[in-house]
Amino acid sequence: MNINSKYYLFLTGIIILFDIALITLFAPTEIIMGDVQKILYIHVPNAWVGFLFFFFVFIASVMYLITKDIRWDYFGQSAGEIGVVTTTIMVISGAIWAKPVWGVWWTWDPKLTTSLIMWLMYIGYLMLRAYSSNQRQGATYASVLGVISFINVPIVYMASVWWRTVHPEMIIGPLKESDAGLTVSMGFILIYSTFAFTVLGIFLLVRRFQIQQLEQLSR
């Protein structure tokens, strides 16, 4: 499967374009928030992909430590990079959504807090590999960090939920409102958007992985 063939690029592109069309033309406009609510269709799918790819990093880390096959490290690095891209978009879209809806750019609501911490862990994962002395050491260290970081995610989420239950100064956030008030067509578009971004993520992942392999060959 030659990822460089334009076929896959076009396929992914079509899926995404269809998604944009759905969001802008067909998605019902919500009464209270208006068009801004449609940011949901970017924010949630990217959150899902971010979390999925963090799981990929965990799998890659565990498998590298067991098999020592360097290709798992390529997989982990690729998943990590795309995860950073995705989580960045999630955080930024979340902030842009929050501003018109609540009046603030940021709030320490559990999902946002967990994603910010996850973002920091991703970045640390990439940095540790980058600053290691050689490829092998980088792979091992990053894998160790990858395992620890992933285990930390549910713990961070639980702690954030308790934190906000104790100090409920902020409203629980648009995510909760949006989950509750979804109509059938909104739900469908949301699912399709999630599918579209997952396809995009996988496409980038495979491409990045193959570029990694090429890069290493040329060393």
Binding site: N4, I20, G34, D35, V36, K38, I39, I42, H43, N46, E81, I82, V85, T88, I89, I92, S93, I96, W97, K99, P100, L200, L204, R207, R208, I211, L214, E215, L217, S218
Partner: protein
């Protein structure tokens, strides 16, 4: 409406930016292989 547009813009700039950056690496490798071939 502006907010939605901003999110779309940022999303696609970031994704395309990433795609662009990683494609540049292919060019680096191609260059390197061409030099290798020439030798």
């Amino acid at each position: 409406m502006n907010y939605l547009f901003a999110v779309f813009a940022i999303t696609w700039v970031v994704y395309f930016g990433y795609l662009f950056v990683i494609n540049r690496k292919i060019d680096d490798v191609k260059e390197y292989l061409d030099i290798e071939k020439a030798n």
